[in-house]
């Protein structure tokens, strides 16, 4: 053994000892991942839409062609590969594997790893043997080495003329029953342990032959290229349409049968009324089944529409297929028999929309001031819940739905709008504006509005930006309103960035990668080129992406500038660190680097709302949901400085109510932002951030002394050993409450305290400002959507009336749109609603 090898062995032995000592002494022990693996496997089995399908399936011809090209090249160099396979020892082969794999993993390894079960693409060329050619091993180490283990040894694996090893089938029982038998283009028999589908075989053999021809006789191919490509494409199109329509037909029939079997799911004869099954008890199962049915129907309808369009184009080109047309008609007829429109369901929680996941919200209650004089919470500038509500109501399939109750976060509805609050007049980054007037849904109560206004920073005065886009390019993002919108949103932002700004792009799917190193934003061509190359495919390993994105941001950190990771995803982290706790810890840890986070959610079928909201919360960030390009324009256009520039962090609000004036109070919304009273002065406790020009609005419903609050908890018994504390002299000063604020500078560690005593001047609701009245209408709308027990005598009609009167200038039309949404909700809710 040479010295280098000896040293290396010593180093490895030392590393092993070091690792063992760490485990022995510290807590760095292997975690128990059994449950996680079982969950992920179960999720994989249960959620076909999240399968990392596409690369191998969408472009099987391309993958196969690459294999064939590689095999042909191997032949052309005189069977070097074969010789290597014969002569090298295992170590050399392993080295060869690594070397070749490095060049090719982007194109070939990825589909194999991400979709190992799509083995029909690779198994035949990737067959591995101790004796055979190792091209497949070089290309797909995981799969082939896996096979190498469990495949019984084959003493003489023959090699095809293309340099591909054939194996006798060691697992005859593992073929799919529909296996078509030998693959004409590649090898004599299907490889053991794999499944072969007819669809893929047809495409493989035709394309592979074409590709071989291209390599052998390029001049000939060039001459016929256009014609052949066109023929091939037409044939593929016809096959694809035929298959799609047959599948739709089968799905429609299944759906219809399912619908017939479930009488309880049929719509009410009186669409305005609640569905008979809409009871508080055992509603969930019916609701889920109901929603799934509706969604399936919408999806099939949508696909049918698209197929019909493509088919017309195909027929227009002269492609005739009576069978195709007949099948299409049959789907349409079957679809007509399905229920037309399902009525809205009751209050929803949890995974109301298949795949979308919202956290349960327990509404804040009225609290007695005598027992709870302090109310403390963190500010929140997220707006996602509002766009999610809009997405439900303005469903592009034309089937408007009410958002599930868990998706209604009233504080995000309030903060979706800008209010005309006075800005700060001193050095503080924001001002506080408090207004008190009568509560519109309960005349005996008072409504307190706390409004913060962040200082404005003109767009041309904003500091340089170091932005890292962390883009989810997993299979679930492969939808029109996901990745394409992500790209469009980035383009919108790029238009507003300049030479002082830097942009990097990190993508993640099965693994993470830096597709655009940090680049100055004036190099738009480079950035757009990187953006155009992105395509979705694979399962989602968000944790790796997060690591790499923060690392990139830290490497190009701009002191005094904007340093931000912008995560664009549907939130489905199904690979890697997937537990919420682990993700939160990871983000919290990364947030310490001084890099802020923006989270943008896309798509609805799979939206993991809770995950995204919490990530933004833990990562010193904000959470928006892109339901349209207009929303993208709002976030990256009109409110760019607010989105990018954080002017204060860990902003907390604490209100001390005066027991001489207030009997009880209720914070409207902010349920998941409530803090313990002692957290207010604890600078270690994280809270929300406020961006330049942002307005933050919080509403309290207050019952004055002498008015009994509704649904307040019973009073507690007198204490045996203590007497209640007495009122101070200040309690007699006529103040309603004291507003206290704490915040830190964006790069600071110590908080600053601001205090504002507040008096109630006895304003009637009509005397309140337009902003106050509009905000109260928005809050009432949220409460009605949540079916809140505290909504008093609020109705959608009253909401619309108040909002209409308080619309104000409404420069961007958001308030007018709110009015449309209120009216739409009334319609969806039906006459049975309020």
């Amino acid at each position: 053994m040479n010295d280098d090898k000896k040293d290396m062995r010593e180093e490895l032995e030392d590393r092993l000892a070091d690792q063992a000592l760490r485990e022995k002494f510290s807590s760095k022990k292997p975690p128990d991942l059994s449950a996680k693996i079982a969950d992920r496997h179960a999720a994989t089995m249960a959620a076909p839409t999240s399968v990392a399908v596409p690369l191998a399936v969408r472009k099987p011809w391309r993958t196969t062609a690459r294999y064939m090209a590689a095999a042909s090249l191997l032949l052309a160099v005189g069977g070097i590969g074969f010789a290597l396979g014969r002569s090298t020892n295992s170590a050399e082969v392993a080295n060869l594997t690594r070397v070749q794999g490095i060049h090719r993993d982007e194109e070939i390894i990825e589909p194999v790893i991400e979709d190992a079960y799509f083995s029909e693409d690779v198994s035949e060329v990737g067959a591995n043997s101790n004796n055979g050619v190792n091209m497949g091993q070089a290309m797909a180490p995981v799969l082939t080495e896996a096979k190498a283990f469990h495949a019984p040894s084959s003493p003489a694996a023959p090699v095809t003329p293309t340099g591909v090893t054939r194996h006798p089938s060691p697992f005859p029982g593992t073929h799919a029953p529909h296996s078509p038998g030998p693959h004409p283009g590649i090898s004599g028999k299907p490889y053991a342990g794999t499944k072969v589908t007819p669809r893929i075989i047809i495409q493989e053999s035709e394309d592979a032959a074409l590709e071989r021809e291209k390599i052998k006789e390029p001049h000939l191919k060039q001459a016929n290229e256009g014609q052949r490509d066109e023929q091939l494409r037409a044939k593929e199109d016809a096959t694809r349409h035929m298959e799609a329509i047959r599948r739709l037909l089968a799905e429609t029939r299944k759906l219809k049968k399912n619908n017939e079997d479930r009488d309880d799911l049929k719509p009410s004869d009186h669409p305005g009324e609640k569905h008979p099954t809409d009871k508080l008890s055992d509603l969930d199962d019916q609701r889920l089944a109901y929603t799934a049915l509706q969604e399936e129907r919408n999806r099939i309808k949508q696909e049918l529409r698209e197929k019909g369009k493509e088919l017309s184009e195909l027929l227009a080109k002269g492609e005739k297929s009576e069978k195709l047309i007949k099948d299409l008609e049959e789907v349409q007829v079957e679809l007509l028999d399905l229920p037309v429109q399902l009525p809205p369901l009751g209050q929803g929680e949890g995974p109301e929309h298949r795949g979308a996941n919202f956290d349960h919200i327990t509404e804040n209650e009225f609290l007695r001031v005598k027992e709870n004089a302090l109310s403390t919470f963190s500010i929140d500038v997220d707006t996602a819940a509002y766009s999610i509500m809009r997405r439900y109501l303005k469903n592009e399939n034309g089937s408007s739905q009410l958002p599930p109750a868990g998706a209604v976060r009233i504080e995000e509805y309030l903060n979706y709008f800008s209010y005309d609050y006075a800005g700060p007049k001193n050095d503080d980054p924001f001002s506080a504006n408090v207004e008190v007037a009568a509560c519109p849904w309960n005349a005996a109560h008072r409504l307190v509005r706390v409004g913060l206004k962040g200082k404005d920073i003109a767009i041309d005065k904003r500091p340089s930006s170091n932005l890292v886009f962390l883009l989810d390019v997993s299979g679930s993002m492969d939808q029109e309103q996901k990745l394409p919108w992500v790209k469009e949103s980035m383009r919108l932002l790029l238009d507003r960035l300049g030479e002082n700004d830097r942009v990097a792009i990190v993508v993640y799917a099965g693994a993470a990668g830096l597709v655009l190193p940090s680049t100055t934003a004036d190099k738009k061509t480079d950035i757009l080129a990187a953006l155009d190359k992105l395509h979705a495919g694979g399962s989602t390993n968000g944790a790796q992406g997060i690591e790499l994105a923060y690392q990139t941001a830290v490497e190009h950190f701009i002191k005094g500038g904007t340093n931000r990771v912008i995560l664009c995803t549907d939130g489905d982290f199904n690979v890697g660190t997937t537990s919420n706790d682990a993700l939160h810890r990871l983000i919290q840890d990364k947030a310490k680097s001084g890099v802020f986070l923006s989270v943008l959610g896309f798509g609805m079928d799979n939206l993991q709302d809770k995950t995204l909201e919490t990530l933004a919360d833990k990562g010193n960030g904000n959470y928006g949901y892109i339901d349209s390009l207009a929303e993208s324009n709002k976030i990256f256009g009109q409110q760019l400085t607010g989105t990018l520039i954080t002017i204060a962090k860990d902003v907390k609000i604490q209100i001390e109510f005066n027991p001489a004036q207030v009997a009880a109070y209720r914070l409207i919304g902010f349920e998941n932002r409530v803090l313990a009273a002692q957290d207010f002065n604890d600078d270690k406790k994280d809270a929300g951030e406020i961006g330049a020009g942002h307005t933050v609005t919080a509403l309290y419903e207050v019952t004055p002394i002498g008015v009994e609050a509704p649904a307040v908890a019973p009073a507690i018994d007198k204490l045996r050993y203590q007497v209640p504390s007495k009122l101070t002299d200040d309690a007699a000063a006529g103040e309603l409450m004291t507003l206290k604020l704490r915040y830190k500078q964006p790069d600071g560690d110590k908080s600053k305290l601001l205090e504002f005593p507040v008096k109630d001047e006895g304003k009637k609701f009509g005397q309140a400002s337009e902003d106050f009245r509009f905000a109260s209408a928005v809050a009432a709308f949220g409460m009605l959507l949540r079916r809140s027990e505290y909504s008093g005598n609020a109705t959608f009609a009253a909401v619309a009336e108040i909002a209409e009167a308080a619309k104000g200038k409404d420069a961007h039309g958001y308030r007018a749109e709110f009015l449309d949404l209120v009216k739409l909700t009334q319609k969806v809710w039906g006459n049975g609603g309020r």
Binding site: R9, E23, P30, R40, V51, I113, L143, F149, T174
Partner: protein, 182 residues
């Protein structure tokens, strides 16, 4: 193509067996990945990936050593790809990536059972460790103190601590090797 058409459940064993497989080998695979240079998060992720990859393929259990070797191969390749894709310098991930064959050889020789016997033997050897060497080891591994802090506490130079720790590990290694051989 639907998932039910493409998912391959292990042919020779049910999911119950798979659970046993995970339970028997997950710690070993996690340790192996750490040995190769994966950080804790990566080791968590790739251990899961390894078993999920195995679950997707027909799998025949041929006893613990062969199974362990097979799982290591899958894990190693997953790790290699993750390193390549991350775009970071593999050399920074530790010595194992510089010579994977040698790393595999060392692991197979010392920790082919996933490292359990090694840890047991190390536990025995540690009982015999005393004096400054023990103090240094405890401060380094149990208290996670920096080399500077240990140097201050033991009134030695930082280089001295480095050498002391290395020699102690060497002594422990020899002890473990002896115990494993017997």
């Amino acid at each position: 193509m639907t998932r039910s058409e493409v998912t391959t459940v292990p042919q020779s064993q049910g999911l119950g067996d798979f659970t046993l497989l995970v339970s028997a080998h997950q710690a070993g695979i996690w340790r192996y990945l750490r040995f190769l240079g994966a950080d804790e998060t990566e080791a968590d992720d790739l251990t899961q990936e390894t078993f999920l990859a195995v679950l997707r393929q027909p799998f025949e259990d041929r006893g613990p050593p062969a199974t362990s070797s097979y799982l290591r191969t899958v894990a190693r390749n997953l790790f290699l790809m993750a390193v390549r894709k991350s775009g970071r310098d593999p050399a920074l991930r530790g010595p194992a990536l510089a010579d994977l064959d040698l790393a595999e050889e060392v692991w197979a020789k010392r920790a082919s059972d996933g490292g359990n016997a090694y840890l047991d033997a190390l536990g025995d050897c540690l009982q015999a460790l005393a004096g400054r060497a023990r103090e240094a080891v405890e401060m380094q591994y149990r208290d996670e103190r920096s080399r500077g802090e240990i140097a201050l506490a033991l009134e030695m130079t930082e280089d001295g601590i480095k050498t002391l720790l290395r020699r102690t590990r060497e002594t422990l290694r020899r002890c473990v090797e002896r115990k494993l051989e017997t």
